[in-house]
Symmetry: C2
């Protein structure tokens, strides 16, 4: 007789009309932080999963695709990335990838919610494993404030934020991109996760347009990310000079998703995304 | 006061431990055919959706990514595609894309289940719109039998099948690939949908390995497909000679996903897929 198990699921309402359910073995952490609801569950399909305000942030099985794209696209195309800022990303996955690059002198991790960092340290050792690296400085504070206070300071800014609602909404606005621009040194570049063109076409388009008002060079790339809505994820880059689509070096460590050739390929956008950015969708 | 609506959903169990739910407005067709269960629903997120045995086959909103990849990768890389076979694909989406190519003389659509074809004609006019094209010949029969009876006949075979269970299981086997090989003319090529490397790594690997025992050239490409499990979909190609990764021409009609540059980019596989095909995953 087959072993009977409890029929226990966690469900993310990816939109009002679409939901992803994952069968779970156990609830590991379920609490309100001062900023959001934090849930960590152990699932059968994706291993341990962290949700913030009901939205999946990372899973053990697929987090590598997102974190490698967030880190290596710019770390490999900037001529000499030394000082890096990660906005959000309290789980530490982006930092883990950034420290693979020997040119790095310091990476600042600025996440408003320290409890996310603590939960990642406790439940996701394979993600948070570089948070104690000597090149990492953790600042649990509002990134919008942090960045306003620094001018001509960073080579790369990585906006590893939650969806643009509530306190993260400002991270998708022109004013914030402008603050990032001024916080960047010569040759500086920023990258932001900018949602799915299938589920959130307006966000994709607005982020691209807002960034284009601030940076002389703006490009978009994309990749697979199974547990984010629709599985197709975009990343929008603003650059003061270097071409983010042209990798200058390989990652000097093991990667599972990113490669130099994938870097170049990720900038080839499907036709409907090209049309969306041109404002010609539906024509 | 906000309008109240019934909380009505359709759910696909994508694996035993993962399910996708879509809010529906209406059930349009719900019946057993001689071969499978056929469900057509109208959803708020993806428009009309067809499910066979509970698995999403097409949605109005995202079917174009899959059908354009299935058709144009080979139609654009074969030197002169004149005679084409579509195995399965009763909805007509792949045929709609194939007939965009002027070199085409005849496309045979061989789907075992005529009721799928009829449902597509009735509920998906934007997908089935070319089924009455004079270059299309529809054969409601078992494709495995159909192909055994033809030697040195087709330029391209497109295996637009359901998942490899029940009557579709044989479409993922070496014997079938061998029959396809013999049914292909000189320079002939086949393409098959081969599932997601995240959800069904074994199927991806097995299809690639089985095809490699039959065809001298085997390559894999991938693309976004939101309503298939994990949203990342692979396509495996066997070729008697032409390089499927090298497009020779553009599609002489409008496309929404495919382009010549996306064709080339789609053959750049993420690192973990390369490792999977080498049999070195986890090493």
């Amino acid at each position: 007789m087959e072993k009977r198990v409890a029929d226990l699921w966690v469900t993310e309402y990816q939109t009002k009309n679409m939901r992803l359910g994952l069968r779970i073995k156990e609830v590991l952490c379920n609490k309100d932080t001062p900023y959001q609801h934090l849930l960590v569950v152990d699932t059968l399909e994706y291993g341990k999963v962290m949700l913030l305000d009901g939205a999946i942030q990372i899973t053990e099985k697929d987090e590598f695709t997102y974190h490698e794209m967030m880190a290596h696209i710019l770390m490999c195309s900037h001529p000499n990335p030394r000082r890096v800022l990660v906005v959000g990303g309290g789980d530490g996955g982006t930092v883990r990838e950034v420290v693979k690059h020997p040119s790095l002198e310091k990476v600042y991790l600025v996440d408003i919610d320290e409890e996310v960092i603590n939960a990642s340290r406790r439940y996701f050792p394979s993600v948070s494993c570089e948070l104690d690296n000597e090149k990492v400085e953790i600042k649990p504070m509002d990134a919008i404030q942090f960045i306003k206070e620094r001018k001509d300071f960073f080579d790369i800014v990585i906006v590893d934020s939650t969806d643009p609602v509530d306190f993260a909404e400002g991270l998708f606005k022109r004013d914030f991109y402008s603050d990032v621009f001024h916080a960047l040194r010569q040759d500086g570049m920023m990258i932001a996760q900018t949602e799915s063109p299938f589920a959130e076409a307006d966000i994709v388009k607005d982020a691209y347009n807002e960034m284009s008002k601030v940076f002389p060079i703006v490009k978009m790339c994309w990749g697979a990310m199974p547990t984010y809505p629709t599985g197709m994820w975009t990343y929008t880059i603003g650059s003061k000079g270097p071409d983010p689509a042209k990798p200058l070096r390989d990652v000097p460590a093991k990667t599972k998703y990113y490669s130099r050739s994938l870097h170049e390929a990720s900038f080839v956008l499907p036709g409907f995304v090209v049309q969306l950015l041109k404002g010609e969708e539906g024509k």
